[in-house]
Subunit: 467 residues, 3 copies
């Protein structure tokens, strides 16, 4: 086994970056008014009568659901690989923990810098946004899963979180697009960033047979799927406006996700032999309805509109796993371990388009004048926008996101291709042994048994095993 | 292996039903006031000052807990079978996703149809009720687990959700019974509906040895148990009145569930050989206290009353697993895979009775006059009810539920017995291979090793294996 | 296998104690105002206008997170042992369910006894505190894991919950220390209590090779780790003052925990061979940042202060696993199964010290005069305290906790050493078979295969296996 020299590289990068975080937090990050001990004084000056009118009580339950999706959802979803469970859950844990710190800074500089004192003021909404940024990194991680070192992952996270904040700033603040659940900022960005990287890191001699599951690893993966699926309504509504927008985001996502399950399983059964269902599709295609509602969830999409989006995206995502992924690998040399193109790429694009159409179709009759202004932020610089203009800006936001993700991914891909980041050799891909202490005893027994049986069986061609 | 022809049946039913849902949602389902973009306008006309006074903030955390119980709780609880993990989690996912859509319609027509425009108005409480309906279907699923095809399950769901809404309408709206946590509407109904079906689908030659667990499948199952157990307080209080009723429902359920754990483990240890504890009882009997509080949780049952109910139901449920289940199979030919009679049937009946007694014993001294009216809904048509009369109606509601569940189960059972739904042969019961793509490599090694060892060991009778 | 005579002991103790709980609850425990059916009447007399101003809506989401940590977090964290998964999750379930009942009584007598009627009035905050008490017991359980009987565990719980309430009363009520997340009351107390017991129960001939994991047991354990990690912000803020204190507790914990992940993994990689990461450190060291913020989370520690605490405690905790644990076992004869000294002992002491310093450093400039009074409870008997005096009392509280935990642990240790509690023999330690019905078939095959292979391989020294 190639020595990846992780012993110095990994600790060094972890310590240096953690130290940098401490220093930067010390210089820049402070509590916002609602999390400061002075809040009781402040709120009385603002005539806020109830302690409950603290953003904490509006958003904390949603935040915790998002937190579960990022750490358990993504982490366990990727444990489907038979010998990469530690790497899936463990690296997920590591890079998400770094990303949320760095995101608090990056997003803070762009979105919540208090110019009066030069400090970033954070509260529960900042934590949700930091988790969102980490989610985007974890999507890209799904594309390169099993083929890179933890050092490469940390470097990728650093660049991706940075570019994420830039893209977010351009499309939300400059263009004034709406994207509460992140079809564009999170999913499209994460997917095409990751796919570009995995293309550049193409390994022609990779043994794809290791990219497989065993019975119990598929069950572990279902833990991830279900937590993502159940909490997606929280994800899509966590940073929406207080009140009806959060409420509506939950209803729309609930409907859409339910529809995806039926169509993903139906498509799986149509195309697998004898109508059997493939767990890969259940683990992934069922989630497409959540991704595809990331932009429009808070809008007046209507429950049946949500069902249509969910049913379509579940169908298309599952078809992608069956037909598109092999083509992408064969012709474009994109080795997409988790199929992020099918789960986040295509459904993300669908979500962006659905969002643009839903915005363009908004009317005062449906939203009320005040509702329209609230829902799309038609204030200040955007006060004279009409819904159809907003639709155009939504579409422009998708284009910007695609450009930045592919462009950024290309740069980062070439950085990660440098030969000193300790990546695994082709034979060690999808294997925990390279980077993790793996329990030996019982497992070794299993492996040797397996090996033996294969050997034992070879000499005979009939069903019985001869000794 | 019998070809179940799932390839056309399953996709067809999924697509047609999903299409039907889209059309019916399009015709009937709209946002309610609190999830509409017009809400800010509406709430000011009603003098609601705070954005927080949106039902979303009262119920969303409970909703998410219920959602976890339905998809992870029930799904993983049933993974105890050694070779039916995919079917347990996967079919659970499929039928729950269909049931919640159909339930929004059925319950909507009965309970939240706005006669002014003929539309069903949905909000977060509708989602909770839809999840409750799905829970009832999943209880019935536990009875037939491993012995039916996904097509049969979807047909069962269609009928069960329909009849669930009818029963709910009769006992809650017509009879005016209270059943916030669903001892009757969810548990009794689901259990006896499912047991009647499994009786009609009786398989005399079923090999019950496959109905067993392995070490890790028992641990997966404990994930389900614990999530059900922890979130049951949310389940029993999710649709209670705002304020003290939700608060009290949580306290009562918390106490009851804790008591069930001690008595279930005690009974297990008494009756298993050498005082060992049986995981089946830990996985199930510990939950009886939640079921048995489904009706009375929101009432002034007192914490010690809750402990008594929990201790008793944990005891009786576990005794049911040990003594009653074998008798039911032998004499009544009821093959109850998960023991739903012990976990939902009996404790549900206990819960209904406890609810009737607690209601009948309510006094103004304990509740206050206003509290009594709030707690039991003594308004409008029920304004002149007394607690003892209420107790009588609670008991009547149990009888109606029992009748409808057995009657409905019988009809649906005969429908499911029709020979073209692709059910598995007796040898394929409790096996994922019929309906799922199952990873082969490593597992095959295990199986063949197992087989070999049995072979190898046969010639000798001493402990050592000879080759 | 030694007969532990659990058949009578375990059921007897469960039934008697549950009966005692029912009687004591009947005599002492009642609903508090906010969970009583009279609450609507009461709140109007107090001019509380909104139903939302019920403590339920401030604390229930946090309560459920804590509940998950206690039952799934601790339970699954301990499943890392290859053959003790049932015992880890199952005994965790049993003793936590007893502890929360007993804690409601013990904490009630000390903290919420209504002297007007001699009753304990409980609400959602009581449930959180009861769960906290159970958490302390489960920490101690981690020290003796695999080496004691369920009867010993129940006896330990009885004494520990009792002494927990005494210690809590002394340090919070008498000394006026602050410890919202329980660095002292929960972690230091639980750890040193458990370590003292495991010292007294020292087994010189214990085969530590059974104290090991297998591949999938490490993944199950990660479920526990992640739920503890994700929900720790709720744990540290669940009983803080409404509003900014809860909000701040979440932000601080979030930062601290993220930093621990990076330093724990870095240290693991430095000291393991070839820079590989050890799952034990990922499962435990990453959580140190939550423990170490138990006292100061609600204070104005600042986000960068939290990062420093998290980074340091993750480092020290992981170093403890690598260097200190072997020494403790060798020289002090402390067999600490889960390494509770590294996860709860040392980080708890750090947390107490950080809390004392942060309190002593508090100023009116940062907190505002009113904020200072709120944050440290400078009212009534403590009205004339200054921050620096408060810091002194915080330090005193740590000393009291250390004394009481070691002293109490010693007494309880000797009680548990009595020969009739059915403890396992040395050979049966870390084995589920003693106390649990374990599925035999497939597992037996695996074991025999393993055994065979070892046998088969012995005669030859080269890599190939000869038959």
């Amino acid at each position: 086994m190639k020595d990846t020299l992780m012993r110095w590289k990994l600790p060094l990068i972890c310590f240096i970056w953690q130290l940098a975080m401490i220093i930067l937090f010390g210089v820049f990050i402070r509590y916002d008014d609602e999390s400061s001990a002075r809040w009781n004084v402040i709120r009385r000056t603002r005539n806020i009568t109830s302690v409950l009118e603290n953003d904490f009580y509006f958003r904390y339950p949603s935040f915790q659901d998002v937190h579960v999706m990022v750490f358990v959802g993504f982490g366990f979803l990727m444990t489907f690989l038979k010998r990469y469970g530690f790497g899936s859950v463990g690296f997920n844990f590591l890079i998400a923990s770094f990303s949320i710190q760095w995101a608090l800074l990056m997003q803070g500089w762009f979105h919540s810098l208090d110019y009066s004192d030069g400090k970033i003021k954070i509260g529960v909404e900042s934590l949700i946004n930091a988790d969102f940024s980490a989610a985007s990194v974890l999507i890209a991680f799904g594309g390169v899963l099993g083929k890179v070192s933890p050092v490469q992952l940390l470097i990728m996270s650093l660049f991706q979180v940075t570019l994420y904040a830039v893209n977010e700033f351009i499309i939300l603040t400059v263009l004034g697009a709406r994207d509460a659940g992140g079809s564009m900022v999170i999913h499209v960005f994460g997917a095409y960033f990751g796919l570009t990287i995995t293309r550049i890191l193409y390994r022609p001699n990779l043994d794809q047979r290791k990219n497989e599951s065993v019975y119990h690893s598929d069950l572990f993966s279902m833990i991830g799927t279900l937590y993502l699926w159940m909490f997606w309504p929280s994800f899509n509504s966590a940073i929406s406006n207080h009140g009806d927008a959060q409420h509506r985001g939950v209803i729309n996502s609930y409907c859409s996700l339910a529809a995806s399950v039926l169509t993903a399983i139906a498509i799986s059964s149509v195309f697998e032999k004898k109508g059997k269902i493939n767990m890969v599709h259940v683990q992934n295609g069922t989630l497409a309805g959540g991704v595809a509602l990331g932009t429009a969830a808070e809008m007046m999409l209507t429950p049946y509109g949500s069902l249509i989006v969910g049913a379509l995206s579940g169908t298309i995502s599952t078809l992608g796993f069956i037909f598109l992924s092999p083509l992408l690998e064969k012709y474009l040399k994109i080795q997409d371990t988790c199929g992020i193109h099918n789960l986040h790429g295509i459904p993300g694009v669908i979500g962006a388009i659905v969002g643009a159409i839903t915005a363009a179709a908004a009317t005062e009759g449906v939203y009320s004048r005040e509702g329209l202004i609230d829902a799309f932020g038609f204030v200040d610089g955007f006060a004279d926008r009409t819904p159809s203009v907003q639709g155009g800006f939504q579409a422009a936001a998708l284009c910007v996101t695609l450009l930045l993700s592919v462009g950024g991914g290309a740069v980062v891909g070439f950085i990660l291709k440098l030969p000193f980041w300790g990546d695994p050799s082709d034979e060690n891909c999808f294997e925990d042994e390279v980077y993790w202490e793996v329990p030996t005893e019982e497992e070794a027994a299993l492996h040797s048994v397996h090996y033996e049986n294969n050997q034992l069986k070879k000499p005979t061609s009939n069903g019985d095993t001869q000794q």
